[in-house]
Amino acid sequence: MSTHQYVVTAHKPTAVTSCVTGNFTSPTDLNLILAKNNRLEFYVVTPEGLRPLKEICIYGKVCVMKFFRPKTEKKDLLFILTARYNTMILEAIGEGDNLEIKTKAHGNVADKIGKPSESGIIAIIDPESRAIGLRLYDGLFKIIPLENCGELKATSIRMEEIQIQDMEFLHGCPSPTVILIHHDHNGRHIKTHEISLKDKEFVKTPWKQDNIDAEASLIIPVPEPFGGAIIVGQETILYHDGTNYVAVTPPVIRQSTMSCYARVDSNGARYMLGDMSGRLFLLLLEHEEKMDGLQVVKDLKVEVLGEVSIPECITYLDNGVVFIGSRLGDSQLIKLNIKPDSKTNSYISVMETFTNLAPITDMVVVDLEKQGQAQLVTCSGAFKEGSLRIIRNGIGIQEHATIDLQGIKGMWPLKMGPSKEFDNTLVLSFVQQTRVLSLNGDEVSETEIVGFQSDCQSFFCGNVNHNQVLQITSVSARLVSTDSKQLIHEWKPPTEKNISVVACNKLQVLCATGSDLYYLEIGDKIIDQKAHAVLEYEVACLDVSLLDTGTEKASIAAVGLWTDISARILKLPSLDELNKEFLGGEIIPRSILVTCFDGINYLLCALGDGSMYYFNLNKETGILSEKKKVTLGTQPTVLRTFGSSTNSTNVFACSDRPTVIYSSNHKLVFSNVNLKEVNHMCSLHAEAYPDSLALSNDNTMTFGTIDEIQKLHIRTVPLGESPRRIAYQETSQTFGVITMRLDVMKASGLQPARNSASTLSTNTSSSAATMFKGAVTAPALDIGQETEIHNLLVVDQHTFEVHHCHQLMPSEYALSLVSARLGDDPRTYYIVGTALVNPEESEPKAGRIVVFLFEESKLTQVSEKEIKGACYCLIEFNGKLLAAINSTVRLFEWTTERELRLECSHFNNIIALFLKAKGDFILVGDLMRSMTLLQYKTMEGNFEEIARDFHPNWMTAVEIIDDDTFLGGENSYNLFVCQKDR
């Protein structure tokens, strides 16, 4: 087997894991740098907003990113530590387009031994840039001196403190001094260590404080003149400078845990804090001046500023503008106002949001409009940032106006009268008829151009040089003045034959009558016949498009012929044949186009069966190379160029599956359009419809604008609670979504913590705990404690409105969802797999499989099956239901009594988490034993294990690529492919 798989990223990472501000690209630029997994994005902060400068990719996952400025430097340097312990110092060199990011120093600081810390990697930089400190392994502190920037080498220092929550360098110390929070069985304590850079040792402990807040987790070092540090805990905020301390216990901070902070003032008087529930606080150090001129912190004030996305990192930019980097929701650029909003009491106004898809917990691919344009619906975000995202590839057309008109054979926009910029007239051609529409603002009315012949079909209409309009019918070519609308000149073919095919640009006309080809040029009030040639066969299609935008005259023309099915390149004006290319087959070419994408010339030739050949074209010699074929549709295709907003050339292929052809990275890309059928199109730049397209099919004509090309289109449906699983049900035109919301125990009982999709639904139902004998009694909760409530939401596929919400039992976790048709039952059911979670058990011992029917916008429970474990995955398998329950894979039949009956099981897993099926084959993904391939033996009615991967991979997803190839995702962020061994 020589097939290889490769992976292409369709969308860059969007979750912000780290952000910093500083003067990176120049001493005066204020830069914002975002780390998104393995990408770094560099922005410059301008009064208009953030302007992207550069994006770079590194080979590694950014863990810590920090700015520092050595005394000798005028701008900041960027320090990065990756998850595999690679360190680097980056520097920006050059400006504008020449901006380059250079690695100033790098090195790996990994140890062969050592236990990686549970509380994660900590990297800190001395404020005076003397050293970098790292805590990677338990009990070891690493020091990288910054004096000489060669290879970054770390020296380890043993630390007494093992479990360290957070660490920072203190400001204003003669030698680098760290402050840390560590905890032992007595509680949490803070301690400082002075480091001797010469001896690479902790030399003394200047001060310490035992038994601080039991959940203290964040240290904020305070710069001069105050010095010292702020320690943020669950309940208290403490300022300590070694001699004095101030502690406050504001009740507002108690609800959640602070996760990040940003310093507002350089003197360290104000800080912003973000907590895990997405609230933003301002922390103010009130100070007084002592008699000896010493500034001393007197009090701490905490104020709630408002609600933002759940922050992962915060950075203060300038003038009250703050960037909130989020991993669980959309990142935001916010502005802090002086006065609170009267309604919401919030000091925050959101300036810009940055769409973030992460974390995607589940997704479905659906084709809602049945146009072959699949969409991805993902369960994105978590907690209050939970949302459904509809991701569409390809190109969408927004319809602005439609007119019912049958049988359009051609459309052209015209600029009549004084109009120079906007098209104000649209010519429509029908069989035996040509009609003219005038576009006056929004209004479309029928009008007449005197010089036009309106009782026959037009082959071409268009503005040409010298304020003239050209109309070509089967009889003649007519030149009409744009001002007087009177006929100026008419050219008729010398023979009596009718014109069959034409092609035109502003100056040149090619007309074919059978196999006779005439080359005409348009002058002031005259059409000159410049050349005539007789081709071997009748002409099927023609093109004289301009290849270079600067020129007026094309030097070559392309012709497609009947009978021998060939494409020929002719030289203009002589009409000498430069080259011919036989296309092969028996389908005649229907449309030919010479065009230029990204500086490369192409010849596109569409055939009558919807396929298209394309070649690279040498415009001097006419030589065609790199012949390729694509299938665009099943009907004859018409190719038209149109300009998009970015001024690049694009080609619209009109057929039963309309396609936009454009170039990306010097490759042609064929992108579907969300329309059913397009027979003809033209670009239209009218006053009411700027940068639009006019499109027609058999019955209607549409004016619309086209989406920006080359982008995934993402639509967000906020839920306000964590979505976990999603399934699509075609029969009811709905999505089933499993969500989790947090309820808080209050004096009156359980109350939702906030309004979300499940609480706002009008139709609700719930599973009562008493109905089920295996039910675990809900644990008694203290007031203020939170508990997870799982729901099944049924959501409309178009409006994404919640039709129904079913709430599951307390302490019942919904883990899997499938929409399936079972057995001979014609109805489609939503089936939910759950687990009853008892926190004391290592593994759930009970669960349910519940079958729901959604009919007439009501959800009813049809059946339920008690199972002995957690149902991690459910799939439909040949009309039966396949479930992964703890370590087993079980197959259930749907009986005529509408109940699930166990048919057979397979046992050879630790925890079976994922299932995929294809035919009789089942792929099982295990928690820690990679993948297993099972075959269902219909005759025996059991499973046979036919293949297994023996590597100890901890799986996060599995998929069947084909009968022999299987894709797996494991939890160290790798994808791997297994092949069946023969």
Partner: protein, 385 residues
């Protein structure tokens, strides 16, 4: 577990932490692997010798994501191979690929084997004939043989996993611990004043200088740079000034193990006690594991997983303890006689054990019922953990 999996999906829990948590939680699911070939016996092999052929020690290694294992019995060293066979159509099984049939050539009785850290080709072994040998696994020959002590017995040896220099510490009935440098086959130093015949030596997994030794009932912690006197003497009464007669256990200490972070030293003695010591201060922690039957007079081997679980051989059982609380969470029954050695394999989350009943048993979390499988071939190497 469900919560942890969700948290991992949201990026709130690191994969490493999930592995540790899952390993701890699922340790109670460990059971005798019912897969064919998942347990091996030495009965047929040892018939060549006159001995009983009990499995005295195990050492496992993972070369190129597969894994093999060494086991000793009376006078043989056996290499087992936990492999995926495409030919036989069986599951992960032990297959004897090669064994060292040494007879007179080798030790009279092999006590201890260890894979050379970082190499897939070399193992070290020690035995009752008083010699420490280095073997080339491919050629099955002795590359080096040292007799570090004058007496004709070695109880146990251990090579430092943290040190860049191949240093091996040897336990023997003579007082004093020779530290051998395998590059020269010489003993550059000797830890003195061990307070009696040494039964067990163990290097710290994180600190290249720290080594623990057990002599009779006294556990000592050494810094190899100071061979003349031990750094700490573990005292079970936890007094500040240990008396010269104070001991760590009431009986013979026959097993030592460091926790993965090197912060805790665990000792196990024939007084049926498991004690945990802080390696910084030498203080005995108050974790009480209760009474664990241990009457074997030879050194045994306990195992730790990457999380908080400890696997201790006790007669013909293997007891599973929680390191934090000392609570016994599970008991593995399967051996028919005394268990001598337990090794945890964190890559497969499996436990291997060997004992006097000549069996090596594989303990797995896998729920297994039926056979018949062929392997999958992996194309392209995943980046690993």
């Amino acid at each position: 577990m469900i919560r942890d999996l969700h948290d991992q999906g949201l990026g709130l829990m690191s994969p490493g932490r999930l592995r540790r948590v899952a390993s701890d939680r699922l340790a109670v699911k460990l059971r005798l692997s019912r897969q064919p070939g998942s347990f091996a016996t030495t009965e047929g092999l040892s018939s060549a010798s006159t001995s009983t052929g009990s499995a005295a020690d195990l050492s496992w290694l993972r070369p190129r994501r597969r894994q093999s294992e060494f086991m000793t019995c009376r006078n043989l060293i056996l290499k087992f191979y936990l492999h995926s066979s495409t030919v036989i159509g069986l599951h992960q099984q032990f297959a004897t690929l090669l064994f060292f049939r040494a007879f007179e050539l080798f030790h009279e009785c092999v006590c201890c084997v260890q894979w050379y850290p970082g190499s897939v080709k070399i193992i070290t072994s020690s035995g009752k004939d008083g010699s420490l040998r280095m073997w080339d696994v491919c050629k099955r020959v002795v590359c080096c043989e040292v007799k570090p002590v004058r007496e004709n017995r070695l109880t146990q040896h251990h090579q430092s996993p943290a040190s860049k220099i191949p240093l091996v510490a040897v336990a023997s009935p003579s007082a004093g611990i020779p530290i051998l440098d395998l590059r020269f086959g010489k003993s550059p130093m000797r830890l003195k004043n061990t307070l009696g015949p040494v039964t067990y030596v163990q290097w710290s997994p994180t600190d290249e200088h720290t080594i623990a030794s057990a002599a009779e009932s006294v556990v000592l912690l050494w810094d190899v740079r100071v061979p003349s006197k031990p750094l700490l003497r573990m005292d079970m009464s936890n007094s500040r000034t240990p008396a010269t007669t104070s001991t760590s256990h009431m009986g013979l200490v026959n097993c030592l193990e460091f926790s993965l972070d090197g912060r805790t030293l665990i000792s196990y003695g024939t007084d049926n006690a498991i004690r945990m010591w802080d390696t910084q201060s030498g203080v005995l922690s108050d974790v009480n594991c209760g009474s664990v039957d241990n009457y074997v007079r030879v050194s045994v081997r306990m195992a730790l997983n990457r999380g908080r679980r400890m696997f201790v051989p006790s007669r013909h059982h293997i007891r599973v303890f929680d390191l934090d609380t000392g609570e016994r969470v599970h008991n593995l029954k399967g051996h028919m006689s005394d268990v001598y050695c337990v090794r945890y394999n964190p890559h497969f989350e499996m436990l291997h054990s060997g004992g006097r009943d000549r069996n090596i048993i594989n303990w797995t979390m896998q729920n297994y019922k039926k056979t018949g499988s062929i392997g999958l071939e992996v194309r392209g190497r995943p980046g690993g953990t």
